[in-house]
Point group: C2
Chain length 153, copies 2
């Protein structure tokens, strides 16, 4: 995969990123891609892009976006002031799944966390994605925690 580039997302990438978010078993149920795309995507992009501790990343192959994820660098007191790198909203285009690209993306993200001074990388995966759990465990992650969510109305 010689033409694979990992880079920070720009505003021009937003329509393709939203397509990636929808191109997913769970994502298609909870995104509002339009057209026109919900204005909240542009607002969220601006909030991410202006925050030095957020890093929205994309994977590009031959001019096409084929993957994305968001890194959050979180300072904290516990574990002796450890910075955490948090991975969220990982997507690989359905046309590229099974090619090893997801593994390359997560390995790249782990290195970004290391370069940022993080001592821990964390993420949660939906219990409805058993393949994802095995994938992350194969990358060295330990499934030590339970992830809880509360939707606010």
């Amino acid at each position: 995969m010689e033409n694979t580039q990992f880079r920070r997302a720009t505003a021009a990438d937003l329509p393709q990123i939203v397509k990636l978010l929808v191109d997913d078993e769970l994502g298609r149920l909870r995104e509002t891609p339009g057209p026109p795309p919900d204005v909240k995507y542009a607002q969220a992009f601006a909030a991410i892009d202006s925050d030095p501790n957020q890093f929205l990343a994309v994977v590009e192959q031959s001019g096409t976006l084929v993957g994305c994820l968001q890194l959050s660098f979180i300072p904290g007191l516990s574990r002796a002031g450890l910075w955490r790198g948090q991975i969220e909203s990982v997507r690989i285009a359905s046309s590229r799944r099974g090619s090893g690209l997801g593994r390359m993306l997560i390995e790249w993200a782990i290195e970004e966390c290391r370069n940022h001074g993080c001592g821990l990388v964390q993420l949660t995966t939906d219990k409805a994605r058993p393949d994802a759990l095995r994938f992350y465990e194969s990358l060295g992650f330990s499934a030590s925690h339970i992830g809880l969510k509360l939707v606010l109305n």
Copy 2:
């Protein structure tokens, strides 16, 4: 609990917060409280305090810190640009456990997330804390995810 105050932590609170972090079955194994306390705690406090999307909170009763947690407000594209409120490093002083203070603290934190515009509150709890899981479920959280961690060396 008339004298219970929830407020943003200040640098002067730091020694007591580190004591709370240590006053915990898992925390005592991974904190380095000194004396003197590891300088990394002060560095981490400065990073948290200067980031508008981090909110280190303490609970005070009659001039004593009896609880703490950290809120992180995380902008994101997925779920139509939803902001997430993330709760981390929750502690209640061992002398006050079982008094309902933890419930008050989490309910207060959920309201802070709502006031900040978050549509979701999320946290992870170690599988080694079965009581904590039941506690969060009783507050309405859904244990829909698995939390994975990778320690970087």
